[in-house]
Amino acid sequence: MSGVLVVMEHQDRSGSPSPSRISLEALAAGQHLAKELGIDCSAAVLGEGIGSLAEQLSGKALTKVFAVEHTLLTQYTADGYVHALQQLIRKTTPGYVLFPHTYQVRDFAPALATRFQQVLISDVIAIHASSGGAPILVRQLFQGKLNADYRPITTQQAPCFLSIQAGSFRSDSLQNSATPAPIEPFAVDLAPAQIRTTPSAPFRESANTVDLAAAPIIVSVGRGIREQENIALVKTLADALGAELAASRPICDAGWLPMERQVGSSGQTVSPKLYLAVGISGAIQHLVGMKGSKTIIAINKDENAPIFEVADYGVAGDLFEIVPALTKAILAAKG
């Protein structure tokens, strides 16, 4: 057991596949971990006809790029990926297997780890070297309210599996190499009967009627608003600012605002001039959708709410007092 293996994910909705940004971040995490431990780092891509994808990675400082090819890997299935990666890991015996923490990885990586009697350490935000040999892996608890340090108890018989949270490592810190990393094709033994689910092509619900991505000002409301009828309070503020109204997931889940106004990993990604978050805690799935905003203002009664980690200006207070006062002051300022 040695070395780091990073399992990449790619996007090919536009024709030619390329590694997703979050997997490049996981690759940066892999290089970092390998450097800390003084071991090799390799990457793996899965699919069919992925030669160009493997080549895109061979310029990075990697020991090898594994091209795991099979027709049954053309479309993602949990069974296909688990079988293929189980075989690759058995053969190459890495000490650490890293993934980007995507919806796809959530779907198969826990089952893959189980095959090795291991537990996936999911959604890791930082990796520190420690004197004991095994690294310290940091992840969040309580939706970002606390951090926790974990130490893998390595057995030498199975690798340690971990997935890396979006935005925790920088893809622009990736080390390149002048000599291209060798691409090693890996043949997988896979039969149609081993794949128990039949996926259909991805689709989007009917076209959105609000384009949050184009809005220069967004006022976004979260569960702190308590009741549907209170949304009007925030709507009045949005109107005063000439802003679009957006929301966190629970507001849309409850049907208080339509889903097309949801910001976050399963909703829209926005980067307005101003994002004003009202009663939103700042869970990672929300943050990934709005942290690129130019200025972020957060109003939350909990001074430790994670939203304040990304806010430029914060108000630790009761939205039911602050929002009306702010609306009034804005209207006054506009004359």
Binding site: N147, D149, F308, I330
Partner: protein, 254 residues
Amino acid sequence: MKIIVAIKQVPERDAQIIVAPDGKGVDDRDLAYTINEPDAYALEEALQLKEKNGGEVIALCAGPDRVASTLREALAKGADRAIHVNAGDLAQRDTLALAQLLADAIRPESPDLILTGLQSDDLGLGQTGVVLAELLGMPHATLIMHVEATSSGLRVKRELEDGWFQHLDMPLPALLTIQSGGNKLRYATLMGIKKAKSKPTATITASPATVPPTIELTRVYLPEKQKRTQMLTGTPAEIAVQLVEKLQSEVRVL
């Protein structure tokens, strides 16, 4: 269709989370508990499937004595019976060991379908369901918004990132992890609460963990602040004035 719903009891959302004195967990002395939110959606999906296709809904929860209240709530909402895997030492078990406990409780029931939440609000591991499916040798699908019974099994709607979705067909028995928002949650009625009292709850005492955990939690702490947020203070009116000033001169949106 015989459906088992795995439900976790977690601290309430607005609970003040305090690090325990030993720095290895949270102080649970004053915590109030509730059902993990995605699990409430999993229960709702199960109840609707039963209403459409007939069958039975069984709520399953591993945890100490206090989780009985959450199981009672599931019964009040319409689950037919409950299984409590009584274990006071879950913090000492990793996901694999927890999933083993759940798998042991599930096997004798031979359900057609198992539903879990996609993620717990406290630990946020997002994997117990998938591990459970693997231990039981069942196909699974995650982040499910909608479930429909078909002649050959199930057709489910799975959420992908950025507002994309996908349908999957799969045979039964199967395990699904349920994403929030697919249904409207029901409340327990007075009648339901009354009926719950006479519904059966089986209690299984968890056998001690046999395999050592694969990971060790070494420290729990408040995240270090990375960014310097400028906090505005004063009365609401004073704060409003400061904000308007920022909006005018710095953000330039007014």
